[in-house]
Protein backbone atom coordinates (compact mmCIF):
# COMPACT_ATOMS: atom_id res chain seq x y z
CA UNK A 1 0.00 0.00 0.00
CA UNK A 2 1.67 3.22 1.09
CA UNK A 3 5.18 3.28 -0.22
CA UNK A 4 7.50 6.14 0.42
CA UNK A 5 5.83 9.33 1.44
CA UNK A 6 3.05 9.97 -1.05
CA UNK A 7 2.68 6.90 -3.25
CA UNK A 8 0.20 4.05 -3.13
CA UNK A 9 1.08 0.71 -4.67
CA UNK A 10 -1.97 -1.39 -5.51
CA UNK A 11 -1.27 -5.08 -4.98
CA UNK A 12 -4.87 -6.23 -5.65
CA UNK A 13 -4.78 -5.17 -9.28
CA UNK A 14 -7.66 -2.73 -9.72
CA UNK A 15 -8.52 -3.05 -13.40
CA UNK A 16 -9.93 -0.62 -15.95
CA UNK A 17 -12.47 -2.91 -17.54
CA UNK A 18 -13.93 -0.36 -19.90
CA UNK A 19 -13.76 3.29 -20.90
CA UNK A 20 -16.07 5.79 -22.53
CA UNK A 21 -14.58 8.63 -24.55
CA UNK A 22 -16.66 11.40 -26.08
CA UNK A 23 -15.50 14.44 -28.04
CA UNK A 24 -16.72 17.50 -29.86
CA UNK A 25 -16.40 18.78 -33.42
CA UNK A 26 -12.96 20.27 -32.97
CA UNK A 27 -11.62 16.99 -31.59
CA UNK A 28 -13.15 15.14 -34.54
CA UNK A 29 -10.83 17.11 -36.79
CA UNK A 30 -7.84 16.28 -34.55
CA UNK A 31 -5.25 13.59 -34.95
CA UNK A 32 -6.89 10.79 -32.95
CA UNK A 33 -10.60 10.76 -33.96
CA UNK A 34 -10.57 6.95 -34.20
CA UNK A 35 -9.91 6.70 -30.45
CA UNK A 36 -13.24 8.31 -29.55
CA UNK A 37 -16.41 6.32 -28.92
CA UNK A 38 -18.72 9.20 -29.80
CA UNK A 39 -17.90 12.39 -31.67
CA UNK A 40 -20.37 15.24 -31.83
CA UNK A 41 -20.77 17.63 -34.73
CA UNK A 42 -22.31 20.38 -32.67
CA UNK A 43 -20.80 22.33 -29.76
CA UNK A 44 -24.27 22.55 -28.24
CA UNK A 45 -25.17 18.84 -28.41
CA UNK A 46 -28.68 20.17 -29.03
CA UNK A 47 -28.81 21.47 -25.44
CA UNK A 48 -29.93 24.89 -24.22
CA UNK A 49 -26.58 25.90 -22.83
CA UNK A 50 -22.93 24.97 -23.10
CA UNK A 51 -23.01 23.83 -19.47
CA UNK A 52 -25.78 21.37 -20.27
CA UNK A 53 -23.81 20.26 -23.30
CA UNK A 54 -20.88 19.48 -21.04
CA UNK A 55 -23.16 17.52 -18.73
CA UNK A 56 -24.38 15.61 -21.77
CA UNK A 57 -20.80 14.75 -22.72
CA UNK A 58 -20.15 13.37 -19.25
CA UNK A 59 -23.39 11.39 -19.19
CA UNK A 60 -22.65 9.84 -22.53
CA UNK A 61 -19.16 8.82 -21.58
CA UNK A 62 -20.49 7.11 -18.42
CA UNK A 63 -23.14 5.31 -20.41
CA UNK A 64 -20.66 4.16 -23.01
CA UNK A 65 -18.30 2.83 -20.35
CA UNK A 66 -21.13 0.96 -18.64
CA UNK A 67 -22.47 -0.41 -21.90
CA UNK A 68 -19.09 -1.68 -23.07
CA UNK A 69 -18.54 -3.53 -19.81
CA UNK A 70 -22.08 -4.91 -19.60
CA UNK A 71 -22.11 -3.96 -15.94
CA UNK A 72 -25.42 -2.54 -14.73
CA UNK A 73 -25.19 0.84 -13.12
CA UNK A 74 -26.74 -0.61 -9.97
CA UNK A 75 -23.63 -2.72 -9.54
CA UNK A 76 -21.40 0.36 -9.47
CA UNK A 77 -20.78 1.63 -5.95
CA UNK A 78 -19.29 5.03 -6.58
CA UNK A 79 -18.96 7.72 -9.17
CA UNK A 80 -15.86 9.83 -8.59
CA UNK A 81 -15.59 12.74 -10.91
CA UNK A 82 -15.24 16.48 -11.31
CA UNK A 83 -14.74 19.28 -13.80
CA UNK A 84 -13.74 22.91 -14.13
CA UNK A 85 -17.01 24.76 -13.97
CA UNK A 86 -18.18 26.64 -10.85
CA UNK A 87 -19.02 24.16 -8.09
CA UNK A 88 -18.55 21.31 -10.60
CA UNK A 89 -22.24 21.41 -11.49
CA UNK A 90 -22.03 19.58 -14.85
CA UNK A 91 -20.58 16.59 -13.00
CA UNK A 92 -23.07 16.79 -10.14
CA UNK A 93 -26.00 16.86 -12.57
CA UNK A 94 -24.50 13.86 -14.31
CA UNK A 95 -24.34 12.09 -10.96
CA UNK A 96 -28.01 12.91 -10.50
CA UNK A 97 -28.88 11.42 -13.87
CA UNK A 98 -26.94 8.19 -13.48
CA UNK A 99 -27.94 7.84 -9.83
CA UNK A 100 -24.70 6.32 -8.53
CA UNK A 101 -23.37 7.41 -5.09
CA UNK A 102 -21.11 10.27 -5.88
CA UNK A 103 -17.89 11.87 -4.73
CA UNK A 104 -17.24 15.18 -6.42
CA UNK A 105 -13.62 16.23 -6.70
CA UNK A 106 -11.76 19.19 -8.13
CA UNK A 107 -8.21 19.29 -9.41
CA UNK A 108 -8.80 21.20 -12.62
CA UNK A 109 -6.93 19.40 -15.39
CA UNK A 110 -5.48 16.85 -12.94
CA UNK A 111 -8.98 15.61 -12.10
CA UNK A 112 -8.62 12.56 -14.35
CA UNK A 113 -5.63 11.21 -12.45
CA UNK A 114 -7.05 12.15 -9.07
CA UNK A 115 -10.30 10.31 -9.69
CA UNK A 116 -8.47 7.30 -11.10
CA UNK A 117 -6.08 7.18 -8.12
CA UNK A 118 -8.92 7.41 -5.62
CA UNK A 119 -10.97 4.80 -7.44
CA UNK A 120 -8.02 2.41 -7.58
CA UNK A 121 -7.35 2.97 -3.89
CA UNK A 122 -10.95 2.24 -2.90
CA UNK A 123 -11.12 -0.87 -5.06
CA UNK A 124 -7.75 -2.06 -3.86
CA UNK A 125 -8.70 -1.75 -0.22
CA UNK A 126 -12.00 -3.49 -0.74
CA UNK A 127 -14.07 -0.35 -0.44
CA UNK A 128 -15.92 -1.04 -3.67
CA UNK A 129 -16.29 -3.52 -6.51
CA UNK A 130 -16.90 -1.10 -9.32
CA UNK A 131 -16.20 2.63 -9.53
CA UNK A 132 -16.82 5.00 -12.40
CA UNK A 133 -14.19 7.68 -12.55
CA UNK A 134 -13.90 10.35 -15.14
CA UNK A 135 -14.02 13.98 -16.00
CA UNK A 136 -15.27 16.38 -18.65
CA UNK A 137 -14.65 19.82 -20.03
CA UNK A 138 -16.13 22.02 -22.71
CA UNK A 139 -14.23 24.68 -24.58
CA UNK A 140 -17.00 27.26 -24.45
CA UNK A 141 -17.83 26.84 -20.75
CA UNK A 142 -14.16 27.13 -19.80
CA UNK A 143 -13.64 30.18 -22.02
CA UNK A 144 -16.70 31.81 -20.55
CA UNK A 145 -15.65 31.20 -16.97
CA UNK A 146 -11.91 31.73 -17.13
CA UNK A 147 -11.37 34.02 -20.08
CA UNK A 148 -13.72 35.98 -22.33
CA UNK A 149 -17.04 35.35 -24.05
CA UNK A 150 -16.46 32.91 -26.88
CA UNK A 151 -17.27 35.49 -29.55
CA UNK A 152 -14.99 38.15 -28.09
CA UNK A 153 -12.15 39.07 -30.38
CA UNK A 154 -9.31 39.02 -27.90
CA UNK A 155 -5.89 37.93 -29.03
CA UNK A 156 -4.43 34.98 -27.19
CA UNK A 157 -0.67 34.84 -26.76
CA UNK A 158 1.23 31.86 -28.19
CA UNK A 159 1.60 30.42 -24.69
CA UNK A 160 -2.12 29.89 -24.19
CA UNK A 161 -3.87 26.57 -24.59
CA UNK A 162 -7.10 25.30 -26.06
CA UNK A 163 -9.62 23.63 -23.75
CA UNK A 164 -10.76 20.24 -25.02
CA UNK A 165 -14.45 19.63 -25.52
CA UNK A 166 -15.09 16.13 -24.38
CA UNK A 167 -15.41 13.65 -21.55
CA UNK A 168 -13.49 10.55 -20.61
CA UNK A 169 -14.62 7.92 -18.17
CA UNK A 170 -13.09 4.70 -16.88
CA UNK A 171 -14.87 1.89 -15.11
CA UNK A 172 -12.46 0.53 -12.50
CA UNK A 173 -13.22 -2.96 -11.15
CA UNK A 174 -11.91 -5.36 -8.56
CA UNK A 175 -11.46 -8.02 -11.18
CA UNK A 176 -11.84 -8.41 -14.89
CA UNK A 177 -9.70 -8.07 -17.95
CA UNK A 178 -8.04 -4.88 -18.99
CA UNK A 179 -5.24 -2.52 -18.08
CA UNK A 180 -4.31 -2.53 -14.42
CA UNK A 181 -3.71 0.46 -12.22
CA UNK A 182 -0.54 -0.39 -10.35
CA UNK A 183 0.36 2.68 -8.36
CA UNK A 184 -0.48 6.32 -7.79
CA UNK A 185 1.47 9.29 -6.50
CA UNK A 186 -0.50 12.14 -5.02
CA UNK A 187 1.14 15.46 -5.78
CA UNK A 188 1.82 18.54 -3.71
CA UNK A 189 0.85 22.06 -4.68
CA UNK A 190 3.79 23.67 -6.36
CA UNK A 191 3.71 27.43 -6.67
CA UNK A 192 6.52 29.07 -8.56
CA UNK A 193 4.93 32.50 -8.48
CA UNK A 194 3.74 32.48 -12.07
CA UNK A 195 0.65 34.66 -12.42
CA UNK A 196 -0.04 34.57 -16.15
CA UNK A 197 -3.18 32.47 -16.75
CA UNK A 198 -2.30 32.38 -20.43
CA UNK A 199 0.81 30.37 -19.66
CA UNK A 200 -0.45 27.40 -17.67
CA UNK A 201 1.95 24.93 -19.25
CA UNK A 202 4.90 26.89 -17.98
CA UNK A 203 3.39 27.09 -14.53
CA UNK A 204 2.38 23.42 -14.29
CA UNK A 205 5.67 22.00 -15.51
CA UNK A 206 7.18 22.50 -12.05
CA UNK A 207 4.40 20.45 -10.46
CA UNK A 208 4.81 17.69 -13.03
CA UNK A 209 8.55 17.52 -12.37
CA UNK A 210 7.98 17.38 -8.63
CA UNK A 211 5.46 14.54 -8.86
CA UNK A 212 7.46 12.53 -11.40
CA UNK A 213 10.60 12.78 -9.28
CA UNK A 214 8.70 11.73 -6.16
CA UNK A 215 7.07 8.82 -7.96
CA UNK A 216 10.39 7.33 -9.01
CA UNK A 217 11.92 7.92 -5.61
CA UNK A 218 8.98 6.42 -3.71
CA UNK A 219 8.71 3.39 -5.97
CA UNK A 220 12.45 3.04 -6.23
CA UNK A 221 12.42 2.56 -9.98
CA UNK A 222 13.90 4.60 -12.80
CA UNK A 223 12.22 6.08 -15.88
CA UNK A 224 13.16 3.19 -18.12
CA UNK A 225 10.55 1.12 -16.23
CA UNK A 226 7.85 2.85 -18.29
CA UNK A 227 7.38 2.73 -22.03
CA UNK A 228 5.65 6.07 -21.89
CA UNK A 229 5.45 8.91 -19.44
CA UNK A 230 2.28 10.76 -20.38
CA UNK A 231 1.85 14.27 -19.02
CA UNK A 232 -1.61 15.78 -18.85
CA UNK A 233 -1.64 19.03 -20.70
CA UNK A 234 1.67 20.82 -20.46
CA UNK A 235 1.67 21.91 -24.08
CA UNK A 236 4.80 22.81 -26.03
CA UNK A 237 6.26 25.11 -23.41
CA UNK A 238 5.49 23.00 -20.37
CA UNK A 239 6.78 19.84 -21.99
CA UNK A 240 10.07 21.42 -22.90
CA UNK A 241 10.48 23.07 -19.51
CA UNK A 242 9.68 19.89 -17.58
CA UNK A 243 11.81 17.63 -19.75
CA UNK A 244 14.83 19.92 -19.41
CA UNK A 245 14.23 20.22 -15.70
CA UNK A 246 13.97 16.44 -15.25
CA UNK A 247 17.21 15.96 -17.15
CA UNK A 248 18.83 18.59 -14.97
CA UNK A 249 17.75 16.65 -11.91
CA UNK A 250 19.40 13.52 -13.24
CA UNK A 251 16.40 11.54 -14.50
CA UNK A 252 17.17 10.15 -17.91
CA UNK A 253 13.98 10.33 -19.93
CA UNK A 254 14.09 9.90 -23.69
CA UNK A 255 12.35 12.45 -25.93
CA UNK A 256 10.11 9.80 -27.49
CA UNK A 257 9.26 8.32 -24.10
CA UNK A 258 7.88 11.61 -22.81
CA UNK A 259 4.59 12.51 -24.46
CA UNK A 260 1.94 15.07 -23.67
CA UNK A 261 -1.82 14.60 -24.04
CA UNK A 262 -2.17 18.25 -24.96
CA UNK A 263 0.09 17.72 -27.95
CA UNK A 264 -1.41 14.38 -28.95
CA UNK A 265 -5.05 15.20 -29.43
CA UNK A 266 -4.88 17.87 -32.14
CA UNK A 267 -3.29 18.06 -35.54
CA UNK A 268 -0.59 20.44 -36.60
CA UNK A 269 -2.29 23.50 -37.94
CA UNK A 270 -5.31 23.55 -35.67
CA UNK A 271 -5.33 26.95 -33.95
CA UNK A 272 -4.52 25.64 -30.48
CA UNK A 273 -1.34 27.71 -29.90
CA UNK A 274 0.71 25.94 -27.20
CA UNK A 275 -1.50 22.84 -27.13
CA UNK A 276 -4.66 21.45 -25.59
CA UNK A 277 -5.75 21.66 -21.97
CA UNK A 278 -8.79 21.03 -19.80
CA UNK A 279 -9.70 18.08 -17.59
CA UNK A 280 -11.01 16.19 -20.58
CA UNK A 281 -7.67 16.49 -22.33
CA UNK A 282 -5.78 13.92 -20.25
CA UNK A 283 -8.95 11.88 -19.74
CA UNK A 284 -9.86 11.40 -23.41
CA UNK A 285 -6.30 10.93 -24.62
CA UNK A 286 -5.42 8.44 -21.88
CA UNK A 287 -8.68 6.47 -21.81
CA UNK A 288 -8.94 6.55 -25.58
CA UNK A 289 -5.61 6.74 -27.31
CA UNK A 290 -3.12 5.38 -24.80
CA UNK A 291 -5.25 2.61 -23.30
CA UNK A 292 -5.91 1.42 -26.85
CA UNK A 293 -2.17 1.29 -27.39
CA UNK A 294 -1.84 -0.62 -24.15
CA UNK A 295 -4.53 -3.11 -25.17
CA UNK A 296 -2.93 -3.58 -28.57
CA UNK A 297 0.35 -4.32 -26.83
CA UNK A 298 2.20 -1.40 -28.40
CA UNK A 299 3.15 -0.28 -24.93
CA UNK A 300 3.18 -2.22 -21.70
CA UNK A 301 3.60 0.30 -18.94
CA UNK A 302 2.66 3.92 -18.84
CA UNK A 303 2.73 6.64 -16.22
CA UNK A 304 -0.02 9.21 -16.48
CA UNK A 305 0.96 12.52 -14.90
CA UNK A 306 -2.07 14.76 -15.09
CA UNK A 307 -1.31 18.38 -14.26
CA UNK A 308 -3.71 21.03 -13.10
CA UNK A 309 -3.58 24.74 -12.43
CA UNK A 310 -5.92 25.36 -9.55
CA UNK A 311 -6.51 29.07 -9.99
CA UNK A 312 -9.85 30.80 -10.29
CA UNK A 313 -10.74 33.98 -12.19
CA UNK A 314 -10.99 35.65 -8.79
CA UNK A 315 -7.55 34.57 -7.59
CA UNK A 316 -6.01 35.79 -10.84
CA UNK A 317 -7.69 39.17 -10.47
CA UNK A 318 -6.41 39.37 -6.93
CA UNK A 319 -2.93 38.84 -8.36
CA UNK A 320 -2.36 35.50 -6.66
CA UNK A 321 0.06 33.12 -8.34
CA UNK A 322 -1.25 29.96 -9.96
CA UNK A 323 -1.15 26.97 -7.56
CA UNK A 324 -0.26 23.93 -9.61
CA UNK A 325 -0.63 20.25 -8.94
CA UNK A 326 0.19 16.98 -10.63
CA UNK A 327 -1.00 13.49 -9.79
CA UNK A 328 0.63 10.41 -11.26
CA UNK A 329 -1.03 7.07 -11.91
CA UNK A 330 0.78 4.11 -13.42
CA UNK A 331 -1.18 1.85 -15.74
CA UNK A 332 0.17 -1.46 -16.95
CA UNK A 333 -1.19 -4.05 -19.32
CA UNK A 334 -3.02 -6.87 -17.56
CA UNK A 335 -0.82 -9.81 -18.39
CA UNK A 336 2.34 -8.01 -17.44
CA UNK A 337 1.20 -6.94 -14.02
CA UNK A 338 1.46 -10.24 -12.24
Amino acid sequence: MLQGHQTWVFENKPTIISTGVVGGPFEAKGSIPEDFDILHEDMWLKQDSFEKAQQMLMEESCQVALKKSSIEKEQVQFFISGDLINQITPTSFTAKTIGIPYLGIFSACATSAESLALSAYLINSGGADYILSGTSSHNATAEKQFRYPTEYGGQKPPTSQWTVTGAGCALVAKEGSGPVVTSATIGKIVDMGITDPFNMGGAMAAAAVNTIETHFKDRNIDPSYYDLIVTGDLGHIGREVSLDLLKQRGLSIREDQYVDCGLTIYREGQPVLAGASGPACSAVVTYGHFLNKLKRGEIKRMLLVATGSLHSPLSIQQKDPIPCIAHAVSIESGSDAT
Partner: protein, 159 residues
Protein backbone atom coordinates in the same frame (compact mmCIF):
# COMPACT_ATOMS: atom_id res chain seq x y z
CA UNK B 1 6.93 46.58 -10.89
CA UNK B 2 7.19 42.96 -11.91
CA UNK B 3 10.76 42.92 -10.70
CA UNK B 4 9.75 44.08 -7.26
CA UNK B 5 7.28 41.26 -6.98
CA UNK B 6 9.86 38.79 -8.15
CA UNK B 7 12.29 39.75 -5.41
CA UNK B 8 9.90 38.58 -2.73
CA UNK B 9 9.80 35.09 -4.20
CA UNK B 10 12.06 32.36 -2.84
CA UNK B 11 15.20 31.85 -4.96
CA UNK B 12 13.90 28.49 -6.14
CA UNK B 13 10.88 30.12 -7.73
CA UNK B 14 13.01 32.87 -9.21
CA UNK B 15 15.30 30.31 -10.79
CA UNK B 16 12.35 28.40 -12.12
CA UNK B 17 10.77 31.49 -13.62
CA UNK B 18 13.99 32.34 -15.41
CA UNK B 19 14.28 28.73 -16.54
CA UNK B 20 10.69 28.78 -17.77
CA UNK B 21 11.04 32.13 -19.48
CA UNK B 22 13.93 30.85 -21.56
CA UNK B 23 11.61 28.27 -23.05
CA UNK B 24 8.49 30.39 -23.31
CA UNK B 25 7.34 31.17 -26.84
CA UNK B 26 7.81 34.90 -27.25
CA UNK B 27 5.03 36.99 -28.66
CA UNK B 28 5.88 38.08 -32.20
CA UNK B 29 5.64 41.78 -31.32
CA UNK B 30 6.68 43.22 -34.67
CA UNK B 31 4.47 40.94 -36.69
CA UNK B 32 1.57 41.60 -34.31
CA UNK B 33 2.10 45.35 -34.68
CA UNK B 34 2.10 45.06 -38.45
CA UNK B 35 -1.11 43.04 -38.41
CA UNK B 36 -2.67 45.49 -35.96
CA UNK B 37 -1.65 48.39 -38.19
CA UNK B 38 -3.10 46.84 -41.34
CA UNK B 39 -6.38 45.64 -39.86
CA UNK B 40 -6.86 48.71 -37.64
CA UNK B 41 -6.05 50.98 -40.54
CA UNK B 42 -8.44 49.08 -42.76
CA UNK B 43 -11.29 49.43 -40.25
CA UNK B 44 -10.67 53.18 -40.03
CA UNK B 45 -10.55 53.31 -43.83
CA UNK B 46 -13.96 51.64 -43.96
CA UNK B 47 -15.11 54.15 -41.34
CA UNK B 48 -13.96 56.98 -43.59
CA UNK B 49 -15.79 55.44 -46.54
CA UNK B 50 -19.01 55.18 -44.55
CA UNK B 51 -18.61 58.69 -43.23
CA UNK B 52 -18.01 60.08 -46.74
CA UNK B 53 -21.04 58.18 -47.95
CA UNK B 54 -23.18 59.82 -45.27
CA UNK B 55 -21.82 63.26 -46.14
CA UNK B 56 -22.54 62.86 -49.85
CA UNK B 57 -25.89 61.13 -49.76
CA UNK B 58 -27.49 62.15 -46.46
CA UNK B 59 -27.97 65.37 -44.63
CA UNK B 60 -24.87 65.05 -42.43
CA UNK B 61 -21.88 67.34 -42.16
CA UNK B 62 -18.38 66.01 -41.63
CA UNK B 63 -18.86 66.54 -37.93
CA UNK B 64 -22.33 65.08 -37.55
CA UNK B 65 -21.53 62.08 -39.75
CA UNK B 66 -19.43 60.65 -36.90
CA UNK B 67 -22.37 59.26 -34.96
CA UNK B 68 -24.10 57.40 -37.79
CA UNK B 69 -20.71 56.09 -38.89
CA UNK B 70 -20.10 54.68 -35.42
CA UNK B 71 -23.55 53.12 -35.37
CA UNK B 72 -23.06 51.57 -38.80
CA UNK B 73 -19.70 50.12 -37.81
CA UNK B 74 -21.22 48.62 -34.68
CA UNK B 75 -24.05 47.17 -36.72
CA UNK B 76 -21.52 45.45 -38.99
CA UNK B 77 -19.72 44.28 -35.85
CA UNK B 78 -22.94 42.72 -34.59
CA UNK B 79 -23.21 40.62 -37.73
CA UNK B 80 -19.55 39.61 -37.65
CA UNK B 81 -19.78 38.76 -33.96
CA UNK B 82 -23.01 36.82 -34.33
CA UNK B 83 -21.68 34.72 -37.20
CA UNK B 84 -18.54 33.94 -35.21
CA UNK B 85 -16.13 35.82 -37.47
CA UNK B 86 -15.01 38.67 -35.24
CA UNK B 87 -13.19 36.45 -32.73
CA UNK B 88 -11.10 35.05 -35.58
CA UNK B 89 -10.29 38.52 -36.84
CA UNK B 90 -9.37 39.35 -33.25
CA UNK B 91 -6.95 36.45 -32.91
CA UNK B 92 -5.25 37.58 -36.12
CA UNK B 93 -5.31 41.33 -35.64
CA UNK B 94 -5.02 41.79 -31.88
CA UNK B 95 -5.32 45.47 -31.09
CA UNK B 96 -6.11 46.14 -34.75
CA UNK B 97 -9.65 44.96 -34.17
CA UNK B 98 -9.86 45.71 -30.45
CA UNK B 99 -8.97 49.40 -30.47
CA UNK B 100 -11.42 50.69 -33.10
CA UNK B 101 -14.98 51.27 -31.93
CA UNK B 102 -15.85 47.92 -33.52
CA UNK B 103 -13.82 46.32 -30.72
CA UNK B 104 -15.93 48.15 -28.16
CA UNK B 105 -19.03 46.95 -29.98
CA UNK B 106 -17.68 43.41 -30.09
CA UNK B 107 -16.99 43.47 -26.33
CA UNK B 108 -20.60 44.48 -25.63
CA UNK B 109 -22.25 42.28 -28.23
CA UNK B 110 -20.21 39.13 -27.52
CA UNK B 111 -21.03 39.41 -23.82
CA UNK B 112 -24.70 39.92 -24.63
CA UNK B 113 -24.81 36.85 -26.85
CA UNK B 114 -22.76 34.73 -24.46
CA UNK B 115 -24.99 35.29 -21.46
CA UNK B 116 -28.21 34.74 -23.35
CA UNK B 117 -28.45 31.30 -21.74
CA UNK B 118 -28.74 32.99 -18.33
CA UNK B 119 -31.82 34.92 -19.38
CA UNK B 120 -32.35 38.39 -20.76
CA UNK B 121 -32.45 40.37 -17.53
CA UNK B 122 -29.81 38.80 -15.32
CA UNK B 123 -27.82 37.27 -18.15
CA UNK B 124 -27.76 39.69 -21.05
CA UNK B 125 -28.64 42.77 -19.04
CA UNK B 126 -26.19 42.31 -16.20
CA UNK B 127 -23.26 41.00 -18.18
CA UNK B 128 -23.47 43.08 -21.32
CA UNK B 129 -21.06 45.75 -20.09
CA UNK B 130 -18.80 43.30 -18.28
CA UNK B 131 -15.92 43.85 -20.69
CA UNK B 132 -16.77 47.32 -21.96
CA UNK B 133 -17.59 48.67 -18.51
CA UNK B 134 -14.07 49.82 -17.58
CA UNK B 135 -13.84 51.84 -20.78
CA UNK B 136 -17.06 53.69 -19.99
CA UNK B 137 -16.26 54.12 -16.30
CA UNK B 138 -12.74 55.47 -16.71
CA UNK B 139 -13.58 57.34 -19.87
CA UNK B 140 -16.28 59.24 -18.02
CA UNK B 141 -14.20 59.71 -14.90
CA UNK B 142 -11.11 60.97 -16.68
CA UNK B 143 -13.22 63.22 -18.90
CA UNK B 144 -14.84 64.62 -15.76
CA UNK B 145 -11.50 65.39 -14.15
CA UNK B 146 -10.05 66.93 -17.29
CA UNK B 147 -13.13 69.01 -18.11
CA UNK B 148 -13.28 70.15 -14.47
CA UNK B 149 -9.65 71.27 -14.47
CA UNK B 150 -10.05 72.98 -17.80
CA UNK B 151 -13.23 74.75 -16.77
CA UNK B 152 -11.62 75.96 -13.57
CA UNK B 153 -8.52 77.14 -15.42
CA UNK B 154 -10.69 79.05 -17.88
CA UNK B 155 -12.66 80.51 -15.01
CA UNK B 156 -9.54 81.70 -13.23
CA UNK B 157 -8.29 83.12 -16.47
CA UNK B 158 -5.22 80.92 -16.69
CA UNK B 159 -6.05 79.82 -20.21
Amino acid sequence: MADKKKKKLPPEAQNYQAFQQDREVKRPVLLNCLKAFLVGGFICFIGQLISTFYVYYFNFTEQTAGNPTTATLIFITMLLTGFGIYDRIGQFAGAGSAVPVTGFGNAVISSAIEYKTEGFILGVGSNMLKLAGPVIVYGVFSAFVIALIKTLLIKWGVI
